[in-house]
Subunit: 255 residues, 2 copies
Amino acid sequence: MTYSDKLINYYETVARECVLGLSLDCVIFGFHDTRLKVLLVRWRGTKEWCLPGGFIYKTESVDAAAGRVLYERTGLTQLFLQQFHLFGDAVRYDVENTWQRQKMPMPFGSGTWPSRTISMGYYALVDYTKVTPTADFLSDECDWFDVFELPSLLYDHRQIINVALKTLRLQLNWQPIGLNLMPEKFTIPELQRLYEAVLGRPLDARNFHKKISSLSILTRLNERRTGGAHKSPYLYQFDLTNYQKALVNGNLIFV
Amino acid sequence: MTYSDKLINYYETVARECVLGLSLDCVIFGFHDTRLKVLLVRWRGTKEWCLPGGFIYKTESVDAAAGRVLYERTGLTQLFLQQFHLFGDAVRYDVENTWQRQKMPMPFGSGTWPSRTISMGYYALVDYTKVTPTADFLSDECDWFDVFELPSLLYDHRQIINVALKTLRLQLNWQPIGLNLMPEKFTIPELQRLYEAVLGRPLDARNFHKKISSLSILTRLNERRTGGAHKSPYLYQFDLTNYQKALVNGNLIFV
């Protein structure tokens, strides 16, 4: 079976077994080397990138479908995974142009599938070091990109990432963003880099340290980060009880 | 044409002209007489209540459809209207039991409409005094209910209201909840009642006054609320610039 045949076969199966006209797109955020990253897939046989996504089986909940897609692309279960926006514009993108860029053998909406697809946006926060980016048969490659240095994206996926990032910023003070994006142990300057990466602007180191200390959300370990040019800083981990309390109180605000 | 024929006709039109398998439900919040209210409709010929809702025309954005439903039930345009959750469980409620309670002439999913409907939840904040609750041909009545004294509800609409209320509480410090639910002029105790109604618990009057004053989000008018048993309190309105600033800073927190 040629790839083109497989593709037609795949979409026929989707149209038969999945909820019609509804898809989901996942914005998977990671944090690495002081930068906020997002996981993308490269459409097979092209140079076009897009978000990992998929369809919902007729007997599957939409949330479960999102969990499945994330597991398939990252190898992780029990991810921090949230709905953030339904992308429901009547015309979301130039469909014909998109098919051409994807080198699709047939127009997607030509069979039983409706010409319009509404997409539920999810965002996930993952520990970058634990992810094994994994392509599927629709894609040649799955890789991380700096959220501020994205390639050309298919569909309306750039807008979807923008809305996800805006949501992340709004939720920074009452969702466990730090807990889910940081590795288990980290230094205070490393945590500051995360907040700066999400907010897209520098924070004052002294104020950051003061604010974090006043909330008692970190426990200092008897270990230091070694190997840097400077004096080895202590490693910390989150104090889950106090961290949760700070989130409930909406106290993790850095303005 | 009998009502039963009209109903069948209506759903045939929906299946032909609307996005298949997707609906929307609107939780419309108002504030009246110190209580948080939600707008419900009573299903025609029954004692069963549910949320106002509807379907999305094939050429209409989902957000526009929500605005249309709200306009039809309240007479208001330019409402504060937000997506809050996609209700996408594979089985959302007992379909057969629901048809019977609705006294429907036919099972809804028997034609071209799929047996499963996924629903996008929106919440709206309205000035109670400006709403004219309006029933449609599917309902005998449209009326306000205290959010803590709801009648028996069709579908999974009690859960939808619970999730909407939880969202409202989470967003109290960074969405213009007060601005949209309060009338133009109000006293500080009246504003306190709103926060108490949303949070479902009393707040300390002195701390509330102190917090509100420290944010400079209110302008005192040269008018007083008269007719009460006590000394006539001053009326206030929001200072939009400072209110917006407080929201951006996430400062409207009453813990």
